[in-house]
Amino acid sequence: MTLLAIVMSGFVIGVLAPWVVRAIGGVAGGRAGVGAGWALAALPATIACFLLSHVPGVAAGRVLSESFPWIPGLGIDLSFTLDGLSLLFALLISGIGALIMVYAGRYLAGHPHQGRLFCFLLLFMASMLGVVLAANVLTLFVFWELTSITSYLLIGFDHRRKEARAAALQALLVTGLGGLAMLAGLLLMGHVAGTYSIPEILARREALQSHALAPAITVLVLLGCFTKSAQFPFHFWLPGAMEAPTPISAYLHSSTMVKAGIYLMARLTPALGSTELWQWLVTGAGGVTMLAGALLAMRESYLKRLLAYSTVSALGIITMGLGIGTEKAIGAAIAFILAHALYKGSLFMVAGAIDHETGEKSVDRLSGLRRSMPLLSIIALASGASMAGMAPLAGFVSKEMMLEATLRSPLLGWLLTGSLVLGAALLVVVAALVAVRPFFGDERPTPRHAHEPPVSLLLGPGVLAALGFLVALAPGVLADPLIGPAASATLGAESHTHFKIWHGLNLALGLSVLGLLAGVGVYATRSRWLGAASATRRLDGMTPTACYHGLLRFVLVFAESQTRALQTGRLRDYLMVIFISTTLLVGYTLFTRVDAPTFDNLAPFYWLDGAIAGLILLSSLAAVTAKHRLLAIIALGLAGLGVTMFYVIYAAPDLALTQIAIEALSVVLFVLVFRRLPDFRSLSTRAGKLRDAMVALAGGAMMTGLVLMATAFPHTESVASELAARAYPEGHGRNVVNVILVDFRALDTMGEITVLAIASMGVFALLNLRERPRTSPIRPHAELRP
């Protein structure tokens, strides 16, 4: 029950969050948000503590799992498992979640929708926990989609701003479409493996990889992962999502949302990994994303956008490591996940704190803040150094590990290493821009008077920055027990990954120093590069972002044009579509599926019948062609009379009686009602009449064919003889038709009476409808169009 409780508690508390904020507001007044942040942080903190208590057990190889039947018929269980990989991610999600709750409480204190923010954050956290703890691919997918929806709500939190709505929609569409592709991949995978349970799928690597569908599965699942984890060319939604308030960006983009794709790639590596296709796709996407993200960051000067592009770059590095797939590379990727979550979460919160206290977002207009915010500047420097990959911090160790992995990569080793050094150098520039530049130099005036942020804004970044030191300096405490089991779970075998700070004087260290120096060099000469970087904006018309907007426009234009074409508003057009499609579909089935009738048991032909048939057909035709209303009504009545005669001949006296009564009533009603309407006019053109006549003739021919085919079937014994035999003994009526109506099918008849009653009420109401004075007289349709 514990894992289920961990996942579900977030949903429950999340829904209650707005009332918590209101209740605390009743006690604490204007500072309700701060208090609520501390109070609600208790849930993720509790979850994190629980997970921490499982670290030694999981490190010793114990796996916690539980399962509840959900939709047994479809093989969907609500099953969860806690192994090394899940533990690392769940710990990041809940731990950083707790810090974010405290931070958000202060950051948005007094915001009218703060309760809603807490609600979305907790729902999102619960969905993320569901993703990383799920042990069934379909359960995983449900939570995966929940993260898409909740992140949509979070990114669009400032829903009054157009940009925020557009960014939220963009994130939802990109990740949602990727999710659909992934669902197809997961279903195929479950089909091939014969199970939807993740541990069982992972155990069936051979069967999966030898199957003909293996490439399709790989590509589809990776599409989902790449869109979610902002891999090139789907990276553009992530910087767009910076429209959200900073606590949201910090949470979504440091440790959670964007890591979901990484998590799934890592999770499925034992089953799908290390094929050639996987290696090329994942390594390639990762490498390109790393460089693209780092290069695009060079054009930015807003704190959060700088961090967003550097996140894209870091996600690329992690993906690249997973793609290479060696023991070292996977270990490095896992270590990078941990290091990145720590420093990026911290830096986002630092950026938010700067914005919150100074009202300034651009690094170009910030300077000398270290005097007014000494504590924040220390935190920023520590996290920035980790991001730049300087010792003795987590970022340094993970970068070393990644460099060693690329150097020994079986695939394009030197190319990857070169790209990684370049990417790392550019990340140094970003780190310097974010963590050094705002704090040093001369003090500059800011929109708001700069001062040290309060504790609740410092706690989150401070703790994460301190953890950056802790995992690097004392790896045995936290890093090794987390990274080792996670890497083993990803590798599908025992991994000997250790978070070592000193690897000796080797090539990796040299390259690391080279990257650092290059980065410092680029930063020092940044003003010269800026022009070149801005010049690339001319190419923005060809970027994936432009493709996305083009595609969105195309969909909207297409939807509008086809709606206009199909929804004309004219009844005739809709009826025409119905008649033509019915005729074609039934006609096609008749011709292809049914044998031609044989006509060997035809009833004899009588001249009387022929005469009646002639009467019916002629009067129907007369009704169609009549130029005057009265003529048409009389012709219609004659046709009805002909049908009545048929009923008389073929032994249906009840039908005949009813029909003739109804026919008389109809004629009277027609004359009474239509007396008030204008006489017939010729409204259609010749071509229009011809077209309608063709449709009508085709429809009539189809019905004739249908009747002929139907008569070819032998007349089987129906329930009728049974009904006839029981009518008198059980129904006590001599007229079998009547007994059927009022006895055997009495419920039907009651329905019929109800219909008639309602119709007559409608008629009565319509006839008594008083004309109300209109404010706007109804005009003909032509004038309604603008």
Binding site: F646, L769, H781
Partner: protein, 115 residues
Amino acid sequence: MQVLIAIIIGGIFACAIYMILRRSIVKLIMGLALLGHAANLLIFSAGGLFRARPALVAPGETAPLAPAADPLPQALILTAIVISFGVIAFMMVLVSRASEAVGNDDTDLFTATDQ
């Protein structure tokens, strides 16, 4: 005989469809009335066409004497006749009120839903 019935049914259907496709709303309703006849005949012919006795139980008997007509399609059609009358009566009144409101009987002008 079945061929003749098939032709009648097809003919009425064709006339009905043509009338329904007219722009005059009066013809639309007349077309619906014709459509009802065609559908009833279709069901009627499916019950088998032979000159038989009506499905009535003569005094002293407990079941209709063979050969008796199939009572089931007749019961169904009876319901259908009455229902279609109800529908047509309602539509006639509705249409006459609607065309008073629009000021025309051309269905092509009946395009705005809320006025």
